[in-house]
Subunit: 429 residues, 2 copies
């Protein structure tokens, strides 16, 4: 058998007889000849068939093997096309696709698309989207490793609904009850005692029954936690740096995918920082937003991003100093104003993408915080042990990877950037 080559190798093989394999992307008859475009994992290539009879009855997505001669052809993609072609059908497709994959932008609505994601994901725009998703994970891990972080894998099956059970999925675990972890929070904090700097790329689960454009019940969380910080500003600096690295990698290595999707990445240089209380004042005065004592509402998030864009030319904005009472028990209070906390959110293009902050690292203070909130310390034994035996000042963050990609691409619904999303109505495919 001739060695298969990839479509991207064609420009270097002019004059040679080569063997390609891939999917029939399009088949067009023009005059006496037939133009076949074949798709493989690297892209598309054109082949000119003198006789299309062997492909009679074959629908797009038929898997083909082509043998032909590479010829220069300025009007074809990549400046080359295959001529004098023999075609072998590897897997025929006899039925029409649920929607077209080969005619410009995808026209299926989201629900139809998701019902047929198994084949719809082959659309070039979808391929581009999920290549970018893969690249984000890779760039995140690469930066973390280069800066002394160790990758960890922590359990997603947990014994107790430790962070507040309302939003957790229950599991029947043999004769016991268990839950799906809503974050690796407690584990990554424990691991600061082991490696100082850790990161995790793993699923997180929220049993929220809300069907919104920005929530998934299963999502991929890019987590990190680091010791020996001064306060949450150190964590924010690391976050800015890793995001800049991700953005730079996408811009440099994935320009064609970004161009295909018409995506303009949000520049991250000097990100404005605004305390929560100041943001509330500003939003009320300037945008007439109703104040919220606990958190930013989605509408407030959008207005604050408009402010950051208008006043600072930034598509990103950090909000710090969230009310301690409305953040989790492990949140470090601001020593000067304990009702505010050393916490932050990072917003981009109207949505919160990252949550983080400094944590309470002193054993006694952590126990007090648990008790003050009515938790039973017994459920936190393994967690507390790490603090009982020496924990430095520490903090971290969690990035929702699907939300991040959605903001980068400017798509409204996070389901568009999730391979097989899980929501209150969807468990398949």
């Amino acid at each position: 058998m001739t060695q298969r080559i990839l479509t991207k190798e064609l420009p270097g093989r002019i004059g040679e007889r080569v063997h390609l394999r891939g999917w029939m992307h399009t088949l067009r008859r023009m005059g006496g000849v037939t133009f076949l475009v074949i798709r493989d994992r690297c892209g598309l290539a054109q082949a000119v068939l003198d006789d299309a009879a062997p492909l009679e009855g074959c629908q797009p997505e038929t898997v083909l093997a082509l043998t032909g001669t590479v010829c220069a052809e300025p009007r074809a993609r990549g400046g080359v096309e295959l001529r004098d072609v023999s075609v072998e059908i590897m897997s025929p497709v006899r039925e029409a696709l649920p929607f077209e994959l080969n005619k410009g932008p995808l026209k299926a609505n989201l629900s139809t698309f998701l019902d047929h994601a198994s084949v719809g994901l082959r659309h070039p725009a979808k391929q581009a989207t999920f290549r970018l998703a893969s690249a984000i994970i890779d760039a995140y891990g690469a930066w973390m490793r280069a800066h002394g972080f160790t990758q960890i894998t922590t359990p997603k099956i947990v014994g107790a609904a430790t962070e507040g059970g309302a939003n957790m999925f229950g599991i029947k675990y043999f004769d016991r009850r268990a839950y799906l972890a809503q974050s690796p929070q407690l584990y990554k904090q424990v691991m600061v005692g082991v490696f100082e700097r850790v990161f995790e790329i793993g699923h997180a689960y929220r049993a929220e029954p809300h069907d919104t454009a920005r929530h998934l019940n299963e999502y991929l969380s890019l987590d990190m936690e680091m010791g020996f910080i001064e306060d949450h500003h150190d964590v924010m600096r690391v976050l800015s740096e890793v995001l800049r690295h991700i953005l730079g990698t996408l811009a440099q290595d994935h320009a064609p995918d970004l161009a295909m999707l018409g995506a303009r990445l949000p520049d991250l240089t000097d990100v404005p920082v605004i305390p929560f209380a100041d943001a509330q004042d500003l939003l009320a005065t300037r945008y007439g937003e109703a104040p919220d004592q606990a958190d930013l509402s989605p509408s407030q998030e959008r207005s604050l991003c408009r402010w950051a864009e208008a006043e600072h030319g930034s598509e990103w904005v950090f909000v710090t100093g969230y009310p301690t009472a409305h953040r989790p028990f492990y949140t470090m209070p601001d020593s000067a104003q304990p009702e505010r906390s050393n916490s932050f959110d990072l917003l981009c293009r109207g949505t919160e993408l990252v949550t983080g902050g400094q944590r309470i690292h002193e054993y006694g203070a952590l126990r007090s915080s648990l008790r003050a909130r009515g938790y039973d310390e017994a459920g936190f034994e393994g967690y507390l042990e790490a603090f009982r035996y020496g924990m430095p000042p520490e903090g971290g963050f969690a990035i929702g990877s699907e939300r991040l990609l959605a903001r980068f691409l400017g798509v409204e619904n996070v389901r568009e950037v999730t391979l097989f999303p899980r929501d209150v109505n969807r468990l398949t495919p």
Copy 2:
């Protein structure tokens, strides 16, 4: 504040006044002076204290900041020590540890260790173990990306117990029943239609109630799937290459960790390949093993590894051609002998580490296989759609990452190489 440096930077700073932060690893009084060993994420360093009074009552693992002068000292670790030291206590530890972390090999038994993993993982041997776990993931992903594979993230919450429900954990998913995926098998196969070559690093779940040294109920699976193969031998070649890359990376970048653990990596050069039926004959004749028509028993696996070592000088052995009837429905039968399949397992040092093979890619044949095994096609709609619309010949494998590391390190129990293992009896920490 003086900029913190890391212990590994000390040899380049002789004569300078520096600032270190870390955990009190040991504190020993000898004659009039006190030797303090501090541990940070890079290792250990010795400091000589003229006055140990500030550390009175502090137990090991107390978090410290040291300022001192770096002096050459041939008898100290790295040839340097810190003198003229001032000590600041960042987080004091007042209680004795559940077991010693600073006196050579860990002495706690496995159960005690796991109960106190939150602090026990700080033992240098445990740090080394989980640095290697992190390195395996990294090397696996790097090789895959370099060879045209795209990383995917597929759901772990699935709607139907598609691969055989007995071993799946049930979840209450709002008003429905769902399950934890026992593998990404069906999704990675679907994704071959999108990217040809995909890999995933993610959790897999098995509700097996057996408490053995080699099973976990939640484990990290290193998966891949690739299209346009000839047969399972292509998959086996890729597997050998990625494993060689992982072994090479560990040997090159992690020699100190391997040395600390007394680990000798298994050389992977020419791996013998033996068909299942031949293996059964051999095992019966040579080792008196009772034949098994379905699979290799654990005892047979050990004997077969002894054979591979004795006859081929290999700590690895491929077994191919498992009985089709005892492999999953998607397994490609051997065209010459359909009762045997184009499947394989890879064994190392007495245990199966990897399962893989060629899959049925032809739509009609796949439906027939489902029906022949009594499955309801309706539960496979999304999966089948990918094959209905053109799938090339394809195959893949799944490596159990914890088992792999256990074999590399020669440890008996897979729980020793899992940060926070989940088994039938253990849900904490």
